[in-house]
Amino acid sequence: MHMLASQIFMDVSSTTLIYVAFVILGIILVGYLTYVLIYPERF
């Protein structure tokens, strides 16, 4: 497990897992921004 984790973090930028996490986070942010655009007065 530790080995796998080290491998993942050895080269952070090219790791697919991190990229997937980045994309998921991005989608959440896009969702939030869409909400702001629809209901700006709630912010």
Binding site: S6, D11, S13, S14, F22, L25, V30, V36, P40
Partner: protein, 670 residues
């Protein structure tokens, strides 16, 4: 109260407050900053992982993370700093709001002593000289002088009396003389002071329409960028172009409109604060913004355009008398007259005949409603009097030829004639006239240059109105108007698409104040006027409307200028970050990097550092507002585009290059 932007106490408090404001729940209200903050948390986790597992990008990741946090922090700091000044003012107001004992009068006339916090709307209280007025109310019986300095800062007492337009009293002020019967008009916690404290503290601050519109644009812009960033590697992989994740979130922070996004709340609060510094309380940021958009200002003649006190203009001799005779007689009649009118007569006489000396006065006759004349009995036995024509024509021994014509001539010009006599012999007529305030003409000219139309409203006849209008230089005037006509004027202007500002203090001004886009009520005015208006001038100086319009314009310009700057600086970032991203896969693109940055990582770091610290650098501008001069819209726009547009285009190139050189010199780039 310390008014300095950077007073130590405000800075320390703002520092602590800005840390609290980093709470994501608070930042969520600012879409651009929320995206940066979420990116920071992501970057932080990656940095920690990179350090634990000894990645080569650990230092770079950490640097970018710290910069992202700083970006959000500088924004919350700007907001906390602008709020801090309002809070300082609220504190000094809170000291005014003290608990006092009040003499409550029951319907059967019995008096009971209660705490001021127990008083509710409709209660009647008796306030005696020296007492603090327990809560807001209207005077229903009596008259007295009230010290309102606790609220207005003005030490001169004001008269409050039942009936008319000066009935309103404010809780926390002190009655100096006489006795007043007051009907309470506010429930506990809803008084004028309570509302002012809430307002200056910004607790109920809501985004203004302009802020909402700008937030939507900024959120839209960030939305597009976020979509581009998250799809960048997936789509780029088809072309063989991918990028480090750290670089991608660095790119997101740089290209998102963080400068304006970070400073937007501070600009709005600082704008309201500038109005407050002028002793004007705006009930909402919307009112201040509307002031910036004003295209028509309706001004009262008396007290706003003119001084309101009639001043001596000339001395007109009667019959065989000379101008010197009437000047001397007028001087004698007014030597003991301390009213503004009396003093102006003495001043004019001394200007015409400089060697006039004060006579020995045996007896002073003050003006009274029954005699309608005033004057002095001199030690040498002469009786000098001045007064209105109707009483003086009965008082004098004879009416000379041409007397009536002179009187009518003055009256027709809207001025007031006063007849002067010595030992009942008519000597001449004093021409008293309301004069245009000094500097008023220039101020109205400034408004014209800003493209704002001015309308003067007066109850005077057309001739007087036209004379004063021409003298002051207003664009238009409405003569012989009744107070209730004001709403018609406001509506007529609004129908033409104009944004209208006006001032008022009477109850009959209330509908017009509510209808106007900017209604500035005088603190001395009635409760109804204050309720209807969206701004209240604590000093009760109607001329301030012009300053308020200036502050509103400055607020809008500051927001516009920083938005321009924020968006234009992105241009330079394309030339620094894009070549860095594509350096490995598309070497030809490095030509874009014409400022020749040291390495892709140092280019990105330099751009992010610039992006972060420009917020800090612009905090003073956001607080103070851009330099504002009353000029027409086009030349102001050209100037601001030149300063903030061209400045925003060039500054980042120079700054990023300098930062790049510095970080390489200090070896802080991985």
């Amino acid at each position: 109260m310390n008014k300095g932007v950077y007073s130590r106490r405000i800075l320390i408090e703002a520092f602590a407050d800005s840390i609290k404001k980093l709470n994501p729940r608070h930042v969520m209200g600012n879409p651009v900053m929320f995206v940066v903050e979420v990116t920071f948390f992501f970057a932080l986790i990656l940095s920690i992982g990179a350090w634990i597992f000894g990645s080569s990008v650990a230092v770079f990741d950490s640097e970018i993370s710290i910069l992202l946090l700083l970006t959000v922090w500088f924004s919350t700091f700007a907001e906390a700093l602008s709020e801090g000044r309002g809070r300082a003012q609220a504190e000094s107001l809170r000291k005014t709001r003290k608990e006092v004992r009040a003499q409550k009068i029951a319907d059967d006339g019995t008096i009971t002593e209660v705490d001021s916090s127990e008083l509710v709307k409709g209660d009647k209280v008796l306030v005696r000289a020296g007492d603090t007025i327990p809560n807001d109310g209207d005077v229903i019986k009596g008259s007295g002088s009230v010290d309102e300095s606790a609220i207005t800062g003005e030490s001169a007492p004001v008269i409050r009396e039942s009936g008319g337009d000066f009935t309103s009293v404010t809780g926390g002020t002190t009655l100096l003389s006489d006795e007043l019967l007051i009907e309470i008009t506010a429930n506990p916690g809803e008084s004028f002071l309570d509302r002012m404290i809430t307002l200056v503290e910004g607790a109920t601050r809501q985004k203004t329409p302009n802020e909402l519109a700008l937030t939507t644009v900024l959120a839209g812009f960030t939305w597009i960028l976020t979509v581009i960033i998250i799809t960048f590697n997936t789509l780029g992989s088809f072309l063989g172009v991918t990028s480090d994740i750290t670089v991608l979130y660095g790119l997101l922070a740089c290209l998102a409109p963080t400068t304006i996004g970070g400073l937007l709340p501070a600009i709005g609060i600082a704008g309201m604060d500038r109005v407050t510094q002028f002793n004007v309380i705006a009930t909402s940021g919307r009112a201040v913004e509307a002031a910036g958009d004003v295209t028509t200002i309706i001004l009262d003649k008396t007290g706003t355009i003119t001084i309101g006190n009639r001043l001596a203009q000339e001395f007109i001799p009667l019959g065989d008398k000379t101008e010197a005779d009437v000047t001397r007689a007028s001087f004698l009649s007014s030597v003991s007259d301390e009213t503004p009118e009396g003093r102006s007569i003495v001043a004019l006489a001394q200007k015409l005949i400089p060697d006039l000396t004060r006579p020995d006065v045996k007896n002073v006759i003050d003006f009274s409603a029954s005699t309608k004349m005033s004057g002095v009995d001199l030690a040498d036995g002469r009786e000098v009097r001045k007064g209105a024509f109707d009483v003086m024509s009965d008082y004098v021994r004879y009416v000379p030829q041409g007397f009536k014509e002179i009187i009518d001539g003055i009256a027709q010009r809207g001025a007031t004639p006063l007849v002067v006599s010595v030992d009942r012999e008519p000597i001449g007529v004093i021409h008293l006239k309301d004069t245009v305030k000094p500097g008023m003409r220039e101020r109205l000219q400034e408004l014209r240059e800003m493209g704002i139309k001015t309308i003067m409203v007066t109850g005077d006849n057309r001739l007087t109105a036209a004379t004063i209008a021409a003298e002051a230089g207003v664009d238009d005037y409405v003569a012989e108007s009744k107070p209730e006509d004001k709403i018609k004027i406001v509506e007529a202007e609004q129908k033409q698409g104009k944004i209208v500002a006006m001032t008022g203090d009477g109850t009959n001004d209330a509908p017009a104040l509510a209808q106007a886009d900017v209604g500035l009520a005088m603190n001395s005015g009635t409760q109804a006027a204050k309720e209807a208006a969206n701004m209240i001038d604590l000093d009760s100086d109607p001329t301030k409307l012009i300053d308020v319009v200036g502050i509103g314009k400055q607020l809008l310009m500051t927001r516009g200028s920083i938005t321009t700057f924020s968006v234009v600086t992105d241009f330079a970032k394309y030339f620094t970050i894009l070549p860095a991203i594509f350096a490995a896969t598309l070497p030809a693109i490095s030509k874009l990097d014409f400022i020749n940055l040291q390495s892709p990582h140092s280019a990105i770091l330099a751009a992010v550092i610039f992006n972060t610290f420009v917020i800090l650098a612009l905090i003073p501008l956001a607080m103070r507002g851009v330099k504002y001069k009353p000029k027409d819209a086009t030349s102001t726009l050209i100037r601001n585009v030149a300063v903030y547009g061209v400045g925003g285009l060039l500054t980042p190139f120079i700054a990023i290059k300098a930062i790049d050189l510095l970080i390489n010199y200090l070896h802080i780039v991985a």
